[in-house]
């Protein structure tokens, strides 16, 4: 009996080992794509090892394509124009690609595998994107569920960004999270201050990265970011502006207001900031300071359901209702929005209802 069990184990192990060896050898031959040449914007030529996704290969080459889901093909952000060598469009990409995307050869770089020489086109601005090693030097509570994180840049030690842009924060593995992920957060600090950045983060229930930021990240810890990304910034016109934000949507507007202060802007701007209750509001003092420094800027906090004990005296109701109470006609205005998709869609409807042209509405949706 013992001998039988022994031979059984031996046989199974031998067969399994032989099969595993066979697989390793065949993988070496079948999945080996050899070195491939990657041509970027018809000027930069890189020789890379084939067989991996375009996104991770570019990341290795220090070219950071924005991606919110970290390469799982669920966010559709990492679009790249593939001119040659991309192969057929995969079924995992089609839900994210529009008709124009398909015609122009736009693909999701996390799904396209480099199998042969490839030519791609990426916006020049992406070359400016760097990876920064930072130190988290200060964490402040803004509300019961929002914190402001101050990151000092270590290497490289300066960052150039436009007010309104965002960075991606690397969330490492921790207990309960077994993969590294990147999440996007808007920069909430003065663009002139280029040796550190602030991020405003609101705790998301079961959020992988926010849980790490709130429960694991301590002052003095090293953090890694990439950036800056994003097209959300003030236009070059002098048109009067309406800002609408909720929760951590506050972040890009802090940066934008610093920029307006730095340039002594005379543009008219009204900032509607919405919260469910009075305890959701934050940075009131800083906003008052901006109102004093910028004569053409008005801050309007709006509370949807003020608790009686809070003694709230300001505007009540939804932030979009406050906008329609304040304005009769928005046809000459520009709109800037940052917040949840629901709030943004509602605000766009209100703006358009008041005559604002769709091309004059700029927004940064949370994903």
């Amino acid at each position: 009996m013992v001998i039988e069990i022994f031979t059984l184990v031996l046989i199974v192990s031998t067969i399994a080992a032989a099969l595993a060896a066979l697989l390793v050898v065949s993988e070496h031959f079948i999945s080996n794509y050899g070195p491939c040449q990657l041509t970027i914007n018809e000027e930069r030529k890189l020789t890379v090892q084939g067989g991996r996704s375009l996104l991770s290969t570019l990341q290795e080459q220090k070219i950071f394509i924005p991606s919110a889901c970290g390469g799982r093909g669920t966010c559709g952000v990492c679009k790249v124009k593939v001119l040659d060598g991309g192969g057929a469009v995969l079924p995992t990409e089609t839900p994210f690609l529009t008709k124009e995307d398909l015609q122009e050869g736009v693909r999701l770089s996390c799904q396209v595998k480099i199998r042969k020489d490839m030519a791609i086109e990426i916006p020049r601005a992406l070359f400016q994107i760097r990876q920064f090693k930072c130190r988290c030097s200060r964490i402040e509570d803004l509300t019961y569920d929002m914190k402001r994180f101050h990151f000092e840049l270590v290497n490289p030690d300066t960052i150039q960004f436009v007010a309104g842009q965002y960075v991606q924060l690397k969330c490492p593995k921790y207990k309960g999270n077994n993969e590294e992920v990147y999440r996007a957060y808007s920069i909430a600090s003065d663009p002139k201050e280029n040796q550190a950045i602030d991020l405003i983060i609101r705790r998301a229930p079961k959020g992988i990265c926010t849980t790490w930021c709130f429960d694991y990240l301590k002052e003095g810890d090293p953090v890694e970011i990439t950036g800056p990304y994003g097209e959300f910034h003030l236009s070059d016109t002098q048109a009067p502006m309406v800002f609408v934000a909720g929760g951590s949507g506050m972040a890009p507007f802090v940066s934008i207001l610093w920029h307006m202060k730095n340039t002594a802007s005379k543009r008219e701007a009204v900032y509607f900031f919405g919260g469910n209750s009075a305890r959701d509001l934050c940075l009131s003092e800083q906003m008052e300071q901006f109102s004093r420094d910028l004569p053409t800027f008005t801050f309007v906090p709006v509370v949807a359901k003020p608790e009686p004990e809070s003694g709230w005296k300001g505007q009540t109701g939804l932030v979009t209702e406050a906008v329609s109470r304040h304005y009769k006609d928005l046809s000459g205005h520009e709109g800037y929005l940052c917040g949840s998709p629901g709030m943004i869609d509602a605000a766009i409807a209100v703006f358009e209802g008041l005559g604002m042209t769709a091309g004059k509405i700029y927004y940064d949706k949370f994903v």
């Binding site: 039988e4 031979t7 059984l8 046989i11 199974v12 067969i15 399994a16 099969l19 595993a20 066979l22 697989l23 065949s26 993988e27 079948i30 999945s31 192969g87 057929a88 469009v89 995969l90 079924p91 995992t92 799904q111 595998k113 199998r115």
Partner: protein, 199 residues
């Protein structure tokens, strides 16, 4: 020489029988899971079917050899289930690599069902039937190939029917797997018509 010829003839007969009269899917109802899940499109269904033919033919041969030359001499026949599954798993891995290399689009559309061929009971079923029926190696080749082709034929027919079905108005409660199983039942009834053609 004569016996070899007879064996090849038997293999051909067994092969045809496996395709039509003893279709592994429509007579034994093995491998229903990918059959209902991947039969929306003829192209994808054909791809999966081809992968099943390939895997089934070669795993039948490999399993026959492993059984005859390893398990029987050591009197470990009871162990065949686990050994067969290990061999099938390794082989599916190989097929996965090949498809990823040569047809990335097919690889993506098969998705999880490609590695799931491993636990497709039709494949294990074919290997077990050939042992129970005491086929020789040559007959086994015919049987494995025939069973695979039978499965391919069934899923192709189903995908064709379902594609035509796209425009028809199926009662809401029957949409999806419900109507698919009813079609499978009707197809199985039709295949009964082949009974007795080959013995």
């Amino acid at each position: 020489m004569n016996s070899l010829g007879a064996e090849i003839w038997q293999a051909v007969v067994v092969c045809f029988a496996a395709v039509f009269t003893n279709n592994i899917l429509l007579s034994y109802f093995l491998g229903m899971c990918p059959f209902t899940a991947v039969s929306r499109e003829v192209r994808t269904a054909g791809g999966l079917g081809a992968a099943v033919v390939f895997v089934m033919t070669f795993t039948c041969i490999l399993n026959w050899m492993a059984y005859r030359y390893v398990l029987v001499p050591l009197h470990l026949e009871f162990f065949r289930f686990i050994l067969f599954i290990i061999i099938i798993a390794a082989f599916v891995q190989l097929v996965e690599m090949l498809i990823d290399r040569f047809s990335p689009a097919l690889y993506q559309s098969l998705g999880i069902f490609l590695p799931l061929i491993t636990v497709n009971c039709a494949i294990l079923g074919a290997s077990l039937f050939m042992i129970i029926r005491e086929y020789s190696l040559i007959v086994t080749i015919g049987y494995g190939f025939g069973s695979g082709v039978g499965w391919l034929l069934a899923i192709l027919a189903m995908a064709g029917i379902r594609q035509r079905f796209n425009e028809s108005r199926v009662p809401e409660g029957l949409r999806g797997p419900g109507i698919t199983l009813i079609i499978a039942g009707l197809m199985a009834l039709a295949f009964i018509g082949f009974t007795g053609v080959l013995s």
